[in-house]
Subunit: 144 residues, 2 copies
């Protein structure tokens, strides 16, 4: 396993309070991409006295410290996930909201090239694919 969020905080000089430890732990254990409300709910189960203001302040701090990634998917609330060493992008199922993480090195390279073509150094990017699940049972159509 890689560095824990707590370790990252120490490394970046981010003061480790009880609240931050709890939020860090909850995020670490989250396999999905919770929004602040959802995160607040999960955190509240551990310590019900933590305020939502602290959750907002903490995710912002963690994001600025490169510990969490913030995503603003189409028409939804901001969602967060732990930033890992391996970069990935997202494929969102528009019907179910399910999120699939994927890596595509070719696209990464092409993005860099596009930026360079215009005289820019790529510092960040956002790639989101929105799709609907293909029906593998084509035969069903025959009965409609």
């Amino acid at each position: 396993m890689s560095e824990s969020i707590e370790q990252k905080c120490l490394a970046k000089g981010v003061k480790l309070t009880d609240q931050r430890k709890i939020i860090a732990k909850v995020m670490s254990e989250s396999q999905d991409h919770p929004n602040v409300d959802e995160l607040y709910k999960r955190v509240s189960k551990v310590d019900s006295k933590i305020s939502i203001a602290t959750v907002y302040r903490t995710v912002k701090l963690f994001e600025e410290s490169g510990i969490l990634a913030k995503h603003e998917f189409k028409g939804g609330k901001a969602r967060y996930e732990e930033l890992s060493e391996s970069h990935h992008d997202h494929l969102i199922d528009v019907k179910t909201g399910e999120i699939i993480e994927f890596v595509n090195e070719e696209i990464e390279i092409l993005q860099k090239k596009v930026a360079e073509k215009y005289g820019y150094e790529l510092v960040d990017h956002k790639l989101e694919l929105y799709g609907v699940k293909k029906n593998p049972n084509k035969w069903k159509k025959k009965y409609l």
Copy 2:
């Protein structure tokens, strides 16, 4: 030139009021990607009685009708642009906020492939590159 926004409204059965005509015209003439506030300002110059609620309602309607594209660039307000037949993505200068439109067919194809790999049909996507302008005057560094 391609179809005007007014023509598209007729084609889609969107009722053409004076307010919508003005908003359509202002958007057509905008070469940038205005947010609602900015659009409201421009529209107000033509008819100061138009309310911002109407501007919000109209851009939403136009977006749903496939007439305008809505963008939610990092940490900013939603911005709009006229949807043209030629799809493009955006490269955003993180220092100046300048937006460069680009087309990259290779990336488009790869995106489709990624979606297919996971059993999805791509219905939409968002690709935003964030960059800083490279300094072409490398010599400057010598004097720092």
